[in-house]
Symmetry: C2
Subunit: 144 residues, 2 copies
């Protein structure tokens, strides 16, 4: 078995599936004016209302180089405000706006649609999700 052969690789399928999932999200998210990474930011904000850029980066595994311009675009679109902390001027707080809050209702039907589109067998997906989470937790425990 030639381990270099594409189909034997373990990593290409993950990469391909990730892009495929993003492409399934795109038409739904387009309707509410979001990209997939922006949608991830909104999910954090729908849960917490206010987070720092650093906290956001930890949740999404993204650094300020990615987040700063992304959050600026979202602020321009009125979904959040960026405000430097008064306690610690290094920190920037990201606060959800009314408009951002209201978007949650519009997004509420997306996850179920996605699961349906990705496959007919939901069972398979929850198994896949569980496995990937195991791998990711294994990874994050290495970082401690």
């Amino acid at each position: 078995m030639d381990i270099l052969k594409l189909e034997n690789q373990l990593c290409f399928p993950v990469y391909a599936l990730s892009r495929h999932i993003t492409s399934l999200y795109r038409p739904h998210l387009e309707k509410i004016g979001l990209t997939y990474p922006q949608y991830l930011v909104m999910m954090v904000l729908w849960e917490h209302q206010q987070v720092t850029v650093k906290e956001l980066g930890q949740q999404l595994w993204l650094d300020s180089g990615t987040l700063t311009p992304l959050l600026k675009r979202m602020a321009e679109n009125g979904l959040l405000t960026r405000k430097r902390s008064e306690k610690d001027e290094r920190v920037v707080n990201i606060i959800i706006t009314e408009k951002g809050e209201n978007l949650k209702q519009e997004a509420s039907d997306i996850p179920s649609k996605l699961i349906k589109e990705l496959a007919t067998d939901e069972e398979q997906f929850f198994l896949l999700q569980k496995q990937i989470n195991q791998i990711l937790s294994l990874k994050s425990s290495q970082n401690i």
Copy 2:
């Protein structure tokens, strides 16, 4: 259960794992002057020596908007040549160079390193790979 909550999502873990895998490849690929998408192109070329841009796109699920500039960079680095087909002037053939061929030896130890770095339990990964491939094949059969 709030289906919108990040950790309940099925898609974020795939997205996060994909970027994590790419970051594991990066230091190894850097040594031989490749990015991850470029490495995927090389894997196709190591198997076939010559392919069209279209065939490459079908294998990697990428369009000419991504591939054209990527292949130009690889041609500049001397890994391949781009040559318009004489039979059909619309088609561009991508041909591996001597330098590109030689890179295969240097890349040969990467896959085994990756598997080791990603987890200690290889079994888990082959299971994951199998599942993702099932999902992807399901998807491609919908396209026919």
